[in-house]
Amino acid sequence: MSSWLWQRRRSRRMNCMQVARVLQSYLDGESDEFTARRVAEHVEDCRRCGLEVAVYREIKHALARHDTPDAATLSRLRGFSEALMGSGPPDDQVSRTPSGDGA
């Protein structure tokens, strides 16, 4: 690679503070493709930022494992939806078990 090209590429690289500003959006898949690529390049070379990415990724993973919706409630709500399609909405106030499944 020519020295000019190397210098140009180097000047476009993000530093740690720039990465810090966009890191959370990057982790959430909310940054644009160009920014994501630049963050990924920096993180690959910078041990400190690489470690920060790893920590925040693990936090996200831990949170994602946090809750699963109650299966019985989910089942009742799906039943409710199917009852709506079968007979339409009631005219009166919302009732908890319109399908009459006794839940």
């Binding site: 890191l23 959430d28 400190r48 799906r78 709506l84 919302v94």
Partner: protein, 185 residues
């Protein structure tokens, strides 16, 4: 409503709404924190969605449903809790700053059961508005735009609450010796 209208409405409901029931329940749990309230809120949302689905253009059904849920939740609040919660953002600016020494701590992450327990405890200790955003994005899987629409706040507010909340979680992990102290982030 004649049979044709009913058929088209049922078809649209099945196509756009049924696949989102689980997400709606997750989000409702985040908004209400009580299973019974969450179930009521989802039922209310489903009813409103069913009544409106024939006017829905088919674009971004999740965002459409979350808007309906937000309105339903606002009605619930008007009925039950007319006061607003204090905004914890200002205090959090002070609390969220992580004291990061230049050369402290082992540079490794200790992932395991203890890691998850510290994250859960830190999540529980967050101010309501910050915990809510973390749950919506990291647990319920909403985008920033979807969370912002649901909460009726700018996307920037979602981002800043999320970032501060994660910094606090990270600080708790550091204090527990499960994450390195160094970091500019």
């Amino acid at each position: 409503m004649d049979t044709g209208d009913r058929g088209a409405r049922d078809k649209a409901f099945a196509q756009y709404v049924l696949p989102e029931v689980e997400v709606l329940l997750r989000v409702a749990m985040t908004l209400t924190a009580q299973v019974a309230d969450a179930e009521d809120l989802v039922q209310d949302t489903l009813l409103r969605a069913y009544r409106a689905v024939d006017r829905f253009d088919g674009e971004h059904p999740r965002a459409w449903l979350l808007t309906i849920m937000r309105r339903a939740e606002m009605n619930r609040h008007r009925r039950r809790r007319p006061h607003l919660l204090d905004d914890p953002d200002t205090d959090l600016d002070r609390l969220a700053s992580t004291p990061a020494g230049p050369d402290a701590g082992p540079e490794e992450i200790v992932v395991g059961e203890a890691f998850d327990e510290v994250v859960d405890a830190a999540l529980a200790d967050l101010p309501d508005k910050h915990r809510q955003v973390v749950r919506l994005v990291d647990i319920d899987g909403l985008s920033y735009a979807e969370a912002a629409g649901l909460l009726d706040v700018p996307e920037g507010t979602v981002m800043s609450r999320l970032h501060r909340a994660r910094k606090r979680i990270r600080a708790r992990l550091t204090a527990a010796g499960l994450a390195p102290k160094r970091g500019v982030l």
